[in-house]
């Protein structure tokens, strides 16, 4: 199976540069976390890959072919964004029927099973579902569609904790049994941190990081202790953030974690959310 190759993708909406020279690869059968603050460009990137909007410059390839206006390529992708693009009068039941019609590997039974597990009112019009149920509905279709690349934009938006947990479990089960690539675009980094294999961090339209989660976590650590000791330690280090409370200071550093312990200082790994926050602050 081919990978999606985004090369030098830039997108402007009028004077606003939403994406600047984005280059990255999305490989098959991996779970990606697409992380970025509000307005960073996540949705623009997803829309570009899925033939919803056109690049201002650069290209997006799948194999040798451009993904733009190419049904053969787009059949391998599935993406329902925040705006559910379903006709006003289409109810969930009909939407399922058409999904089956257009996507030959769609598992209708599995979808129906999940719909009833989550108690989705399938006779209701898709557009008139509550925020939570819209999300659940989207997710169920995404998990049942069985295409190589599935894109999820904020898949837990509006879901209560129980449903969030159910979703992650369903996703992991699905992924384990029949792998595809899932690109999860989200703010809730803490929750997806363990689920993703690779991370793409996007900041103000540019790719900050695109690597495996484990290798990303190894690139940073935090140092806590008395302020003067911390300052001394940090002199030759790349510090990306500081927290201070009374006389105790915490410094967030990009670099290789020191092997030996340092007297008076607590050295620990940064979790993904902390790393992300410090990297994307201002």
């Amino acid at each position: 199976m081919n990978s999606i190759n985004v090369q030098g993708l830039s997108k402007s909406f009028g004077t606003v540069e939403a994406l600047k020279n984005v280059t990255l690869t999305i490989e098959e059968n991996k779970i990606y976390g697409l992380l970025g603050r509000n307005g960073a460009g996540k949705t623009t990137l997803l829309n570009s890959i899925n033939n919803r909007i056109f690049p201002t410059s650069g290209e997006i390839l799948f194999g040798e072919k451009s993904v733009i206006e190419n049904e053969d390529v787009q059949r391998n992708f599935f993406f329902v964004g925040e705006q559910l693009l379903f006709p006003e009068n289409m109810n969930a039941k009909k939407a399922i029927r058409w999904t089956k019609e257009f996507y030959p590997h769609f598992d209708e039974d599995y979808a129906k099973e999940l719909m009833s597990l989550f108690e989705v009112p399938i006779k209701k019009k898709v557009k008139s579902l509550s925020t939570g149920y819209k999300t659940i509905f989207k997710n169920i279709i995404a998990l049942s569609v069985n295409v190589p690349f599935v894109f999820l934009d904020e898949p837990v938006l509006g879901l209560d904790a129980n449903h969030r947990e159910l979703f992650y479990k369903a996703l992991l089960e699905k992924y384990s049994n029949s792998p595809s690539t899932y690109v999860i675009s989200t703010h809730l980094i803490e929750e997806v941190a363990n689920i993703v294999e690779d991370v793409i961090i996007i900041k103000k339209g540019e790719i900050l990081r695109a690597q495996s989660r484990d290798s990303l976590l190894e690139t940073g650590y935090s140092v806590t202790g008395m302020a003067n000791l911390v300052d001394q330690f940090c002199q030759d280090k790349e510090v990306i953030g500081l927290d201070a409370l009374g006389g105790i200071k915490s410094a967030y550093i990009i670099g290789e974690k020191p092997r030996e312990t340092v007297d008076g200082l607590d050295i620990s790994t940064m979790d993904l959310q902390k790393l992300f926050v410090k990297m994307t602050n201002a």
């Binding site: 947990e165 992991l172 384990s176 363990n194 484990d214 976590l217």
Partner: protein, 121 residues
Amino acid sequence: MDNYQEKPIFLQIAETIEDGIITGAYPEESQVPSITEFSIIYKINPATANKGVNILVDEGILFKKRGVGMFVAKGAVSQLKQKRKKDFFEVYIERMIKEAKKLGVTSTDIIGMIERGFIDE
């Protein structure tokens, strides 16, 4: 799974399985849960679970039976106990001594505390 702990998730997985083996939850020559089950229960990426399991496979603690699953190797318990005993000093003692020094607790104090601890048990 503890997000804030020092160790990467895959190491935590390996340790959890080790604990299960040592305590007898996973007896020798019995089957342990599959990668899929681990990933779902702990809500982690299967690749991560796989990494953790493979550490134990490489160490000979677990072995894979084609088409069936993963099993605890014979002698795994004693192998693990030996390894843990070796690490005991580094993992527990060194840290304890560091903290003790911070607080001004002497080695005599510590020995007394340890003896008390074993009696209370």
